[in-house]
């Protein structure tokens, strides 16, 4: 690819399978009468934006590909199969078929190792993509006409400590950025995670998951926490956001702990441009927000200031 690559946009792109279920795309077998519209409409905005930006690749960091030894990248040209959600099989049985950007996979692998990280290339063609990657990719680009690259979530924030995990993600973020630049890609990044993550321990009605009269946030305290971090994002207060995230994780069990947001912010150079919150709602009580950082030259002017 010609020219120096860049990250044009980054999204917090949560992956509850309920969102795909509510939309009834042809790839998903179960049918619904809708549900979780606020989040699905939020994703509609992102789809439109991605079409305008014409990226070469969408890179997804997913918490549902948890790896014990290092950071793994999908490295086969095409992955195809049926993904049945192990937790919500009654609402997510999805036929996926996607191109993988293997050149970029190689570059991320090389740069990750250059950062001192342990990295692996996933080269088994029978590998079943995790539902985090699939839901996020679908919600951002349901036509699947843009190659993706899936990055695993290394277990370090759980195995060692959050601090160790964050350091790893900062390194992986820098590595990803360099890989994008060297390969000349126009890339969209997606941190596939919820915000507050406490959830119901029983589905209110397994026979009607989309009954929105039963959907609500887990607690007011969690809601306030979600609003607090979203406000910091919307106001571009990046330093304060980074400062508060560990406490946010501790108090709300936020899925952010798995690393995707830290990775994405590091890759984007910790942007102080205000983020755009497209929508927020709960899914089985967890807090979910679709959030965009637009780094495109069109949005920020050539040479926009990023704070590394």
């Amino acid at each position: 690819m010609a020219g120096k690559g860049s990250i044009v946009c980054g999204f917090i792109a949560p992956h509850p399978p309920h969102l795909v279920y509510g939309e009834n795309p042809p790839q998903n077998i179960p049918r619904s009468s809708g549900g979780w519209e606020v989040l699905r409409w939020a994703y509609d905005n992102c789809r439109e934006k991605i079409k305008q930006l014409k990226p070469d690749v969408i890179i997804v960091h997913t918490p549902h590909w948890m790896t014990l030894v290092g950071h793994h990248v999908t490295r086969v040209p095409r992955l195809k199969g049926l993904s049945v959600d192990p937790i919500f099989p009654h609402l997510f049985r999805y036929n996926f078929d996607t191109a993988i950007d293997v050149e970029l996979a190689d570059a991320v692998y090389d740069e990750a190792r250059a950062e001192g990280l342990i990295a692996r290339k996933m080269t088994n063609p029978n590998f079943r993509l995790d539902y985090g990657t699939i839901v996020t990719s679908h919600m951002l680009n349901p036509g699947w006409d843009i190659p993706i690259l899936s990055l695993s979530a290394n277990n370090s924030p759980y195995y060692f400590s959050l601090g160790v995990g964050i350091e790893e993600m900062y390194k992986l973020g820098r590595a990803t950025r360099r890989a994008i630049e060297k390969t000349g890609r126009r890339a969209v990044l997606a941190a596939s995670n919820t915000l507050s993550h406490f959830h119901f321990d029983r589905e209110p009605d397994p026979n009607l998951p989309e009954d929105m009269s039963k959907e609500h946030v887990f607690s007011h305290a969690n809601y306030l926490w979600d609003m607090r971090v979203l406000r910091l994002m919307r106001e571009g207060r990046m330093d304060e956001l980074l400062q508060v995230l560990p406490e946010f994780i501790e108090k709300t069990g936020a899925e952010v702990k798995s690393g995707g947001l830290f990775w994405m912010l590091a890759a984007m150079g910790f942007p102080k441009v205000p983020a755009r919150v497209h929508g927020y709602w709960s899914v089985i009580a967890t807090g979910n927000a679709v959030v965009e950082w637009d780094l495109s030259a069109e949005a920020n002017g050539a040479g926009a200031n990023l704070h590394a």
Partner: protein
């Protein structure tokens, strides 16, 4: 489905490692001991002539209660998300549907959230498939697969184990109960060669051995009492709650275990333990 027998019961129990490395033909000394022990467990199952294998796997993690496989003939090709380079795990086994549904019924009656899953393509986990590769290599014996709930504790797992045992009795089955689980859960976070494999810390090794000694002495109540501390200190595989389930299934009194093998898999602890009910 086999003819029901009047005296249904669980005739044997096993704890089996769930990591796929034990299936590899290459070996470290430790893995050779484990693999030989897995084969010995397979021989033990054949000798027991069960109608059904009831298997609880720590690698089938559920969040909303417990799940029970209720598909008559799960088939597919599983690739482990971490160890995809070891190879594919094709599967094609039969489920004892009557026993699966009775287990769900009795578990629900005991106050648990237990649900069936009957979907083409539902992912069968590595732990279940590793255990079955040794214990049911020709897929001749029907199986009931049970998930491990991430939040449940001793009480719930023992109730679920008892529900499975009651279902076995009610239907007159001759069953073997299997807990697919590792022991200590700390592992190497870097690449290692087979020859480097060992339990990552002396503390983990000592605690594994302490727990195994209690199990081998038939002190199951003491062993269960030790599990919370053991799990906290060793990062045990799903808090070693599979042991609660197995004791619930076997009846904890006098459930004396025979340790057929013990060793490391990528730094974590693993053992093959046989219980004669």
């Amino acid at each position: 489905m086999p003819e029901p027998r009047p005296q249904g019961r669980i005739v044997k129990g096993y704890i089996m490692p769930g990591m796929p490395h034990v299936m590899l033909p290459r070996e470290s000394a430790s893995r050779a001991e484990l693999r030989n022990a897995c084969h010995a467990a397979g021989a033990g199952v054949r000798e027991a002539r069960p109608d059904v294998l009831v298997i609880f796997s720590t690698q089938w993690v559920s969040v909303l209660g417990h799940l029970v496989q209720a598909r008559a003939n799960p088939t597919g090709l599983h690739v482990d998300e971490n160890w995809y380079d070891i190879g594919n795990l094709p599967y094609d086994f039969r489920t004892d549907l009557e026993l699966a549904h009775r287990t769900i019924e009795l578990g629900t009656a005991a106050g648990l959230q237990v649900r069936p899953v009957d979907y083409e393509g539902f992912p069968v986990d590595t732990g279940t498939l590793v255990a079955l590769s040794f214990l049911n290599p020709k897929n001749e014996i029907p199986v009931v697969c049970i998930s491990c709930n991430i939040y449940s504790g001793r009480d719930e797992e023992m109730k679920l184990g008892k529900a499975a045992a009651d279902a076995v009795r009610a239907l007159g089955r001759r069953a073997v109960a299997i807990a697919s689980s590792g022991l200590s859960g700390h592992y190497f976070t870097r690449e290692i060669t087979d020859d480097e494999d060992r339990i990552v810390s002396e503390t983990d090794d000592a605690l594994n051995r302490r727990l195994l000694d209690l199990i081998a002495a038939g002190k199951s109540a003491e062993a269960m009492d030790l599990v919370p501390e053991y799990a906290a200190k060793t990062g045990a595989d799903m808090q070693f709650k599979s042991y609660y389930w197995l004791m619930g299934a076997l009846g904890s009194d006098g459930a004396k275990g025979k340790v057929l093998g013990y060793g490391s898999i990528w730094g974590s602890g693993a053992a093959v333990i046989e219980f004669s009910a």
